[in-house]
């Protein structure tokens, strides 16, 4: 009871607003960059999507390495976790954190520590859904 009473209350409404704004801005920026790539440089939609994803990953990884992305993530939470920035941040932050344990036993074996669950459950669910679609004959 005492612990519950003294735990600071999370400002849920503010978190909601911040996540909406930050997530929305990332979506907006990605759309702007992909429009520029498509209209000015004549890239196809697929190529533009890949370039945008690489830019987002590059910026998120660089900011993580420079040390200020962690505090952004703890402030904006889902606004930065749900876009591809979250994936890049989890990979590069675990790479940086475990680097001192060695290149193989540290960096190598902990590289996908946080992002592994996304890849695992993504592939498993995609595989099962394809099987389901085969069985129901879609």
């Amino acid at each position: 009871m005492l612990v519950k009473k003294h735990t600071p209350r999370e400002p849920k409404l503010r978190n909601f607003g911040v996540a909406f704004l930050v997530g929305g801005l990332i979506g907006l920026l990605a759309e702007v960059i992909s429009m520029i790539l498509k209209n000015c440089f004549a890239f196809s939609t697929v190529e533009a999507g890949l370039i945008v994803a690489l830019i987002v990953i590059g910026v998120a990884s660089l900011f993580t390495a420079l040390g200020f992305f962690d505090s952004w993530v703890s402030k904006c939470k889902c606004g930065l976790i749900i876009p591809t920035t979250g994936f890049a941040h989890s990979v590069s932050s675990s790479a940086l954190e475990y680097k001192r344990d060695g290149l193989i036993t540290g960096l190598g074996s902990n590289f996908f520590k946080l992002a592994g669950s996304v890849i695992l459950y993504g592939i498993i669910s995609a595989f099962l859904l394809v099987i389901v679609r085969l069985v129901i004959g879609g």
Partner: protein
């Protein structure tokens, strides 16, 4: 108009994730996995292509797009090469994101020192 749609869609999904994070005991890891599975499921229902057509990069920049690209390339592989195609084609579209994340994160972690 496209920009407004991208902003609203990406913002709405992030805000929805924030509601889940604040009101349950799930961690960010749970939520990103959940969104990936949800993306694969929406793709299974045939919705995700329509979402991308409507919201553009607002839909492709989210982690749920990863599930969509896994499912759609696995299905594409089945149509082209049969059952083995599911295995050989699964990572086809998402290869760019995974390889990009590996290469960039590796370079960055080699160059920079961790800050505590």
């Amino acid at each position: 108009m496209n920009y407004l749609m991208a902003f609203l869609f990406a913002g709405a999904l992030c805000a929805f994730a924030e509601v889940i994070l604040d009101n349950t005991k799930l961690t960010p890891g749970h939520i990103t996995s959940l969104y990936t599975v949800m993306g694969a499921f929406l793709s299974f229902l045939g919705c995700y292509d329509k979402l991308i057509a409507k919201f553009g990069a607002g839909a492709t920049v989210l982690i749920s797009n990863f599930g969509h690209s896994l499912y759609s390339s696995a299905w594409q592989g089945y149509l082209e090469d049969g059952f083995l195609g599911i295995f050989s084609n699964m990572l086809c579209k998402s290869s760019g994101v995974i390889t990009g994340a590996i290469v960039i994160a590796f370079l960055v972690s080699i160059i920079f020192k961790p800050k505590n």
